[in-house]
Amino acid sequence: MNPAYWMELILIFLGMGFALIGNLGVFLMPDPYTRLQASATCSTTSVISVILAAMVSSGFSPTTGKLAIILLYFLVSSPVATTIIARYAWESGIVPWRRPKRRLGKGGSP
């Protein structure tokens, strides 16, 4: 087993794991901002892992150069999309979710 194979395998499984966690997070989070956090993890880290794995897999060839260009464009375009969505949510007046404060002292109704 050569090291390139193992590196490729590790990167692919990292991408799959992050995609799974991100998708579940998008289901379970309470408001658009936290959903965006989960989807940003999934959508950046998992895609970057997959592209890096493809680069390792294809070795030194024109495919690798093209994949590097794709990675570069992805690093520019993905945060722009995320910031635009967050800004849309902010400007249409969605209030961020806060963890409800735990009351100190007696548990009586205020």
């Binding site: 959903r35 959508s43 093209k66 794709i70 249409s92």
Partner: protein
């Protein structure tokens, strides 16, 4: 390298993102779903191109990468309501 399994995995998790896109209560949630689906389709296209091993096929992923967020940009630009303050 078990490529086929990875392809099926990404197609399945794309369905998970699609459910959020359909049930999302507000438009921002739908856009989050669209962003998620777009990222996973990009990964799918890259994996397919590497599996076929033709460098020309990567142009699809590149074109989608460049033009993909124009739709989100159009929706945000034309449907932003200023918050009343």
């Amino acid at each position: 390298m078990p490529w086929d399994f990875v392809l099926w995995f990404f197609l399945g998790s794309l369905v998970l993102g699609l459910v959020r896109l359909v049930i999302g209560p507000s438009t921002a949630d739908r856009l989050v779903g669209l962003n998620l689906v777009a990222g996973q389709v990009l990964a799918l296209l890259v994996l397919l191109a590497v599996k076929e091993d033709v460098a020309l096929y990567l142009d699809v992923a590149l074109a989608y990468d460049i033009f993909g967020f124009l739709g989100i940009l159009a929706i945000v630009k034309y449907f932003t309501k200023r918050r009343a303050s």
